[in-house]
């Protein structure tokens, strides 16, 4: 097209042919830029494909050696080259559950405070503070957990927990053993503090989408503030809240440094929350550079693959929920 123009205009006056040339140049540059941006967009997809592909390739030796048994084996013995993912997977799930059990109610409480109860002048500063906290690197939480929180738990909280639940049927198992300070519970609590700002900030955004008319109508028929929240605000925002919680869960599952510092890195499944354990990410962070032998390395990469698949599913659900909320708003 552009070339044809140039040829047709060849016999015309110099000024007009210059214009045609300039236009052709425009066209060329435009197409070039378009293709460049298109390629970059594809690159993002390829990047994700590359991550998955490289993890699968890297984990092939371990998958070939252990098959599906890898998932249900507890043993982790580099000397005899027997590896199983059960202990890290268990630790990952338990720490994340502990974290969510603590973080979700508190985050909802803070979000409710910010949207419904807080005086206007405080809303912005507290909101900003929470968003800044969401950006603090996880290693900071880890170092704090190791030096401040774990010793505190060991001296003041865990002995009390152990003796308080000593006779109770199930709880005595959950809170048993010597107080190490570090362990599954500590890791869960630290994760909760990390996830708190993330869940809070999404819940707050979601709560703000509730039309004032709905809330005012509920107040007008005599609802108390709590009833408005429970029967209007939370049902209205349910989808978005689940999305936010899943996003927090995705973060908690994949969190590495904060957990590595305080989990204790013991490859076993202990019923007690006070016992040291390990998570997928902590295992990889601790052992990868020291792994000797292809099978060992490959087993660690397989762990990474499992982690990636789990978080991918959780995050995909989260995004789907948040997207549904957005289309509901009619944006």
């Amino acid at each position: 097209m552009a070339n044809n123009l140039a040829v047709e205009n060849a016999g015309l006056k110099p000024a007009e042919s210059r214009l045609a040339k300039a236009l052709a140049g425009f066209k060329l540059r435009d197409t070039g830029f378009h293709l460049l941006t298109l390629a970059a967009a594809w690159a993002v997809l390829i990047l994700l494909g590359g991550v998955i592909a490289s993890l699968i390739v890297g984990s092939m030796p371990a998958i070939r050696a252990f098959g599906l048994n890898f998932l249900v084996t507890e043993a982790w013995n580099p000397v005899t080259e027997k590896f199983g993912a059960m202990a890290p997977v268990y630790g990952t799930i338990v720490t994340s559950l502990v974290a969510m059990a603590i973080a979700v109610p508190s985050a909802l409480g803070i979000a409710i405070f910010l949207t419904e109860l807080c005086p206007y002048s405080l809303r912005r500063p507290i909101g900003i503070a929470i968003e800044l906290l969401a950006g603090i690197p996880s290693i900071i939480y880890g170092i704090w957990g190791l030096f401040v929180f774990a010793p505190f738990l060991q001296e003041h909280v865990q002995p009390g927990l152990i003796s308080a639940f000593a006779g109770v049927p199930v709880l005595s198992k959950l809170f048993a053993g010597p107080p190490y300070g570090i362990g599954v519970l500590t890791a869960g609590v630290i994760l909760a503090v990390m996830v708190l700002p993330i869940v809070t900030s999404i819940s707050r955004d979601v709560f703000e989408t509730v039309p004032t008319v709905l809330k005012e109508s509920a107040y007008a028929v005599g609802c108390t503030t709590w009833e408005v929240l429970r029967s209007v605000v939370i049902p209205y925002t349910r989808v978005g809240l689940i999305g936010g919680v899943m996003l927090g869960l995705g973060r908690a599952l994949g969190e590495t440094m904060a957990v590595t510092f305080v989990i204790g890195n013991a490859h076993r499944i202990a019923p007690s929350l006070l016992a040291p354990g390990t998570t997928i990410s902590a295992t990889i962070a601790n052992e990868f550079t020291e792994a000797v032998g292809d099978l060992y390395t490959s087993a660690l990469i397989t762990l990474g693959l499992i982690l990636f698949v789990i978080t991918f599913i959780i995050l995909a659900i989260s995004r789907y929920m948040l997207m549904r909320l957005q289309s509901q708003e009619g944006r």
Partner: protein, 279 residues
């Protein structure tokens, strides 16, 4: 009336829980920052910026770690930003309603929260294992993979905020789209685009997990991109878990430096963002 009273009491109880969660949550976070400031400033001496990481049991600084972090962060941003911006440009300008954009946005949002340690494994597989040794270049590559989703997201969001009337006015003058994007859309969204880059820097400056087995660590000062390089987070990880008092103190100081940098970047980004509406 009795029923109403009990409903009100119930309401008060739950709202009380909300207040309590605010106090506990924010108090807890304040406690972490407070300890960090206290422990970190205690060890903040000029030597931290002038000396290398010490052997166990002696005093030293973090110069090699700080330099390493700066170099790798810079490279990571330098590689990741152009790619992220171009992809974001496609999504907001050329292919705003295309299937590809929808798909890329979904994948990008997942990459945004994907566990960073997996990114480290990925770069290990494609770079470190191929090259046969750890290197600063691999570390920078891992960081750039984390930068890309952040920049894609903010670029798209910020370009979408630019009013279409501006684009239409420019198109009506006969300008091709590439010039409309370069001279109009980018300019109108400039503050937002800078914000994205700042947020990306803030995000990677504390990243530890992807560096552990790409750039590894280095006891000595090195600017060789083809060799292992020290970084603040990796040094903190190593020193904090050591039994030596001097090392632990340096870990706190390093943690303080990272936090200050991250907070400064986030606050600058926020200030830039509120400067809009774009002109």
């Amino acid at each position: 009336m009795a029923i109403y009273d009990s409903r009100r009491r119930r309401s008060k109880f739950y709202l009380g829980l909300c207040y309590a969660s605010v106090i506990i949550g924010l108090g807890w976070l304040a406690l972490i920052l407070g300890t960090l400031l206290y422990e970190g400033f205690r060890g903040l001496t000029p030597a931290v910026f002038a000396q290398m990481t010490p052997p166990p049991g002696s005093n030293g600084g973090l110069l090699n770690a700080i330099t390493g972090s700066l170099i790798m962060t810079f490279l990571g941003v330098a590689i990741g930003t152009p790619l992220g911006m171009l992809a974001g440009t496609y999504m907001a300008e050329y292919g705003r309603y295309s299937k590809l954009t929808f798909f890329v946005r979904f994948i990008n949002d997942i990459l945004l929260s994907a566990p960073s340690i997996v990114i480290g494994l990925f770069i290990y597989e494609v770079m470190v294992a191929r090259m046969g040794h750890f290197s600063a270049l691999a570390g920078a590559a891992a960081l750039s993979v984390i930068v890309i989703p952040v920049v894609v997201r903010t670029t798209e969001d910020m370009l979408l905020l630019v009013p279409d009337t501006l684009r239409e006015a420019a198109r009506a003058l006969g300008l091709p789209r590439s010039i409309v994007i370069g001279k109009v859309a980018y300019r109108a969204a400039r503050a937002g685009l800078v914000t994205g880059v700042l947020l990306a820097i803030a995000r990677i400056s504390g990243e530890t997990a992807p560096l552990l087995f790409t750039a590894l660590n280095n006891q000595f000062f090195s600017t060789n991109l083809n060799a292992p390089m020290s970084s603040l987070p990796a040094v903190i990880f190593q020193f904090a878990l050591s039994p030596y008092k001097e090392w632990q103190q340096l870990a706190w100081t390093g943690a303080l430096l990272i936090t200050l940098a991250v907070l400064a970047l986030s606050i600058t980004a926020r200030a830039l963002q509120t400067q809009r509406p774009a002109k």
